[in-house]
């Protein structure tokens, strides 16, 4: 048992990965959210090339390429999108990493993150695995998986047959646990960034609806993933000021 009191040292003793840079950046951004002046917030965003790229893309939703952007500075993009949206985008990297790590570690599947509009939408009944969180931040993460991918999950995770995975309880447990791992990791990142929150148990449903859900007072973002075996989506909706 560790004898040191520093949380980071304890985590190291257990061999836990260090807190990612993207999470430290999110923490810094949150400390600048109260200011009426957005300059400090914008400066921090500017230090993160990936976040800057995401924010400018969000501020220019109709542009097909960067050359078409009408809004070209972070400051203007924050004015257009708002701080909440910028914070949501700052959460993108932790969520994308959590999705990729869950699939890579548990299923040996390397997922590539792509813009959702580059994938065909699910205009058919598909499976939603959902976990919500509440506390200083409120939100939800939804996996959208095509039904034909469910037997692949069972096989890769547990060596189960397609017949085994026809049992809805078994299929739901597998999907639920995958959601739990992903959102548990993401939620831990939020906690480390200062947004302490708790998770709800996973909920699994089947739907034809492909609409992006938004939690009260929040903003949403969809992420696309694909590999040779599958394509799937992860939807994130967050209100980072739910306790304010």
């Amino acid at each position: 048992m560790p004898t040191v009191a520093n949380p980071e040292d304890i985590a190291k003793q257990f061999g836990l990965e260090s807190v990612p840079e993207s999470v430290k950046r999110l923490n810094q951004l949150l400390t600048k959210c109260d200011a009426t002046d957005t300059d400090d917030f914008a400066k921090l965003v500017n230090q993160d090339a990936e976040l800057t790229k995401r924010l400018l893309r969000a501020a220019n939703p109709r542009a097909e390429c960067e050359e078409d952007y009408g809004i070209t500075t972070v400051e203007d993009a924050i004015q257009r999108c708002g701080m909440s949206a910028a914070l949501l985008l700052a959460m993108s990297e932790p969520l994308i990493k959590a999705v990729q790590k869950s699939f890579s570690t548990m299923l040996n599947l390397e997922l590539k993150n792509v813009l959702p509009q580059t994938l065909d939408p699910f205009n058919f009944v598909h499976v939603i695995g959902e976990v919500s969180f509440s506390g200083k931040a409120t939100g939800l993460v939804q996996y959208r998986l095509p039904a034909e991918f469910i037997p692949v999950l069972g096989d890769r995770l547990l060596g189960l047959s397609a017949e085994d995975m026809q049992d809805e309880a078994t299929a739901n447990d597998v999907i639920g646990e995958l959601c739990n791992m992903t959102v548990g990791n993401f939620k831990s990142n939020l906690c480390d960034a200062g947004l302490t929150c708790k998770l709800s148990p996973p909920k699994i449903s089947r739907t034809e609806e492909f609409q992006l859900n938004v939690v009260e007072g929040g903003t949403s973002q969809r992420y696309g993933f694909h590999s040779k075996e599958a394509r799937l989506y992860a939807d994130l909706s967050v209100n980072p000021f739910s306790e304010s």
Binding site: M1, P2, A5, N6, P7, E8, I10, A11, F14, G15, L16, E17, V19, K101, S102, S104, T105, M106, L157, L158, G159, T170, D173, V174, G176, E177, N180, M181, T182, V183, G184, N185, K187, S188, C191, D192, T196, L199, P201
Partner: protein
């Protein structure tokens, strides 16, 4: 050897069972903290692999109650959870756990952590094969 897996996910309990199938040990299962405590008292396992977020009684509450009970407080516990927030990990460490493994995880990582705590032996037939 007896290992108790306490997790509300059947999937995780199946993975733990599969992971230790090549070893000379029995994997017991409980799907929440309350069941976990009852099984720990009845079976006195050599090790508990414990999740945090569970219905009825969560893993942190179970750990606290385990440590208060002289009959079972010395059973080593390894946390197996998606929770890796630093403040929570520090709190759990103070309650007294031998190790901590964050989901998602590879079978080998779990075996390595468990081997540091109990002397796992391969099953006789596995050795003969």
């Amino acid at each position: 050897m007896k290992i108790l897996s306490v997790d509300d996910s059947k999937t995780i309990r199946m993975i733990v069972k599969r992971t230790f199938a090549p070893f000379d040990c029995t994997v017991l299962e409980a799907c929440n903290g309350e069941e976990g405590l009852a099984t720990a008292l009845a079976e006195k396992p050599d090790l508990i692999v414990l999740d945090i977020t569970m219905p009825v009684m969560d893993g942190v509450t179970m750990l606290g109650k385990l440590k208060e009970n002289p009959e079972i407080k010395s059973i080593p516990v390894i946390m197996l959870t998606a929770e890796s927030g630093r403040e929570n990990v520090a709190y759990i460490a103070k309650l007294g756990v031998r190790d901590y493994l964050v989901k998602p995880f590879k079978d080998d990582q779990l075996i390595e952590k468990v081997k540091r705590v109990i002397a796992l032996q391969p099953k006789a037939e596995a050795v003969a094969a």
